[in-house]
């Protein structure tokens, strides 16, 4: 049986997932802005933008994952037998960087917790912030590590 080279499919999936995470992080930043804005016109606009952000994030993520999932279900994508590639390595490094950024953020929040209590913000605000930091740091790290290089594109 002919085995398709699934590396390009996996690369496209990795890029799509990173885009999905970036859009998800931006959506959560908009949710934060919505939480801090008093009820009114701006708040309702931010609410609608959030709904749009959620829809776009889901669409981008599903579109990114679907081709790889389809190949996996049809038995053409055999991940364990494929050697790892540059983008897979970059994604793993980005998850490590995201973990560092989230841990640092939690440490800062803990050290300043007594001051944050004075702000009387809802607990949801902090969870939303941490989630936004986690997904944004992973996606930004991924795009930084995989940025195009003129030297790479030299074929000869």
């Amino acid at each position: 049986m002919k085995q398709n080279n699934c590396a390009e499919t996996v690369d496209r999936m990795q890029r799509g997932v990173a885009w999905g995470m970036l859009l998800c992080g931006i959506t959560y930043l908009i949710i934060l802005a919505e939480d801090l804005t008093p009820k009114g016109t701006l708040n309702s606009i931010l609410d609608k933008v959030t709904l749009g952000g959620v829809a776009i994030t889901m669409a981008v993520t599903i579109i990114a994952i679907w081709p790889a999932l389809k190949q996996k279900l049809s038995g053409q994508l055999i991940g364990a037998k494929e050697p790892e590639g540059f983008l897979s390595g970059a994604m793993l490094t980005s998850f490590k960087n995201g973990w560092i950024a989230t841990t640092l953020s939690i440490t800062i929040l803990l050290s300043l917790s007594s001051r944050f209590e004075l702000l009387e913000l809802p607990i949801r605000f902090y969870f939303t912030s941490l989630f936004a930091i986690a997904v944004l740091s992973v996606s930004i790290s991924f795009f930084w590590l995989t940025r195009e290089d003129d030297l790479e594109n030299m074929e000869d």
Binding site: Q3, N5, C6, A7, E8, V10, D11, E82, P83, E84, G85, F86, L87, G89, T146, D149, L151, E152, N153, E155, D156
Partner: protein
């Protein structure tokens, strides 16, 4: 960049008159993986290194070498 490892993939590709995409397809990785290995941005796994060497029908040491070892022996 990894200054410790040098590779001659571009030389072997030129000898075989093949593009990065064709080599990538032949060994089952993406074109981006080949291009980043060539410029020393990505250090390949042993499996990828052996697949590249096997494709060009040469020992892996002919494709990849440690630059500091070459300097020591010179």
């Amino acid at each position: 960049m990894h200054p410790e490892i040098d590779n001659r993939i571009r030389v072997f590709r030129a000898e075989h008159r093949m593009s990065q995409g064709e080599l990538a397809e032949a060994i089952g990785v993406s074109r981006k993986t080949i291009s980043t290995i060539e410029v020393g941005k990505f250090v390949p796994s042993t499996i990828i290194a052996l697949k590249i060497a096997r494709y060009f029908k040469v020992p892996v040491e002919e494709v990849f070498s440690l630059t500091d070892m070459e300097q020591q022996s010179a």
